[in-house]
């Protein structure tokens, strides 16, 4: 069974444009829906707050691993660490990697998230449970956003 996530998506935009959307902290924040305190720097922790209405109290945090210009951007994080009462820092994080490749139509983006076999997930599920109602609403919000800005 797969214990990693892989997504491949064709973007009709040049590699440098996609690189900027991924690694400029303000641009990343736009589509990822997080307000970051400052730029991404390899080896450093990036912090911010979720910008979804109703979730503005939720902190966002990731440790930037690699920034290889226009090729690879990676960070480790604790996905869905939405419960402020839980200290997620002791858990082994997952690794998120964005790989960029020039393609005929623009850019091929390959996203992977790995390391799920290392996470003690009891706590994570608790966090999910608390977020259940909001999560369903979030899906609708995103659908609306994407439909408005095709």
């Amino acid at each position: 069974m797969e214990n990693r996530i892989e997504k491949r998506i064709e973007l009709k935009a040049p590699v440098e444009r996609v690189w900027r959307a991924l690694t400029d902290y303000r641009e990343f924040g736009e589509w990822f829906r997080v307000k970051l305190e400052g730029p991404f720097v390899a080896g450093q922790i990036a912090r911010g707050m979720i910008t979804w209405p109703g979730y503005e109290h939720v902190k966002w945090e990731a440790t930037v691993q690699k920034m290889e210009a226009e090729r690879l951007f990676s960070f480790t994080w604790h996905p869905y660490s939405v419960d402020p009462r839980i200290d997620y820092s002791k858990e082994t994080p997952t690794l998120v990697e964005f790989r960029l490749e020039k393609s005929a139509g623009g850019t091929l983006l390959v996203l992977t998230e790995s390391g799920f076999e290392l996470i003690p997930s009891e706590r994570r599920l608790e966090a999910f449970r608390r977020n259940d109602g909001g999560w369903t609403q979030q899906m609708k919000n995103i659908e609306g956003y994407v439909a408005e800005k095709p």
């Binding site: 214990n3 998506i9 996609v18 869905y80 599920l125 999910f128 999560w135 995103i142």
Partner: protein, 115 residues
């Protein structure tokens, strides 16, 4: 994923990480495949066709048992192992959730860079 199936996943609240770890091994995946029919099998039956010793296979089975992917029953002198598909199903649903979140985030990224 529907809200109902999400609730189901959460209601069971099993630990997924050990399940992912247990399945991250070829031998154990083969054992799970052999048990997928649902019939209880003995260690002798499960060792057949494997290059590993009976002891090694037993060790793998005990690990699968520990994370509740299989359970064993005694039939006379031998243990028989049976698959419980639920933990695997739960772990898959969890991964589906994270995966769905990425689909949405990447759709927003696409709109952002192409817009």
């Amino acid at each position: 994923m529907s809200r109902r199936s999400l609730s189901r996943t959460l209601a069971r609240r099993r630990a997924h990480a050990p399940v992912f770890a247990a399945l991250g091994d070829e031998t154990r995946l083969r054992l799970v495949a052999k048990l997928a029919g649902g019939e209880p099998r003995s260690i002798a039956q499960l060792t057949k066709g494997e290059r590993l010793s009976r002891q090694a296979i037993t060790k793998h089975l005990r690990l699968l048992e520990k994370v509740k992917i299989v359970h064993s029953t005694r039939a006379g002198r031998e243990s028989r192992f049976q698959l419980d598909p639920q933990p695997i199903e739960d772990a898959r649903e969890y991964l589906d959730l994270v995966s769905a979140e990425w689909d949405l985030a990447l759709a927003r990224l696409k709109a952002f860079v192409e817009g």
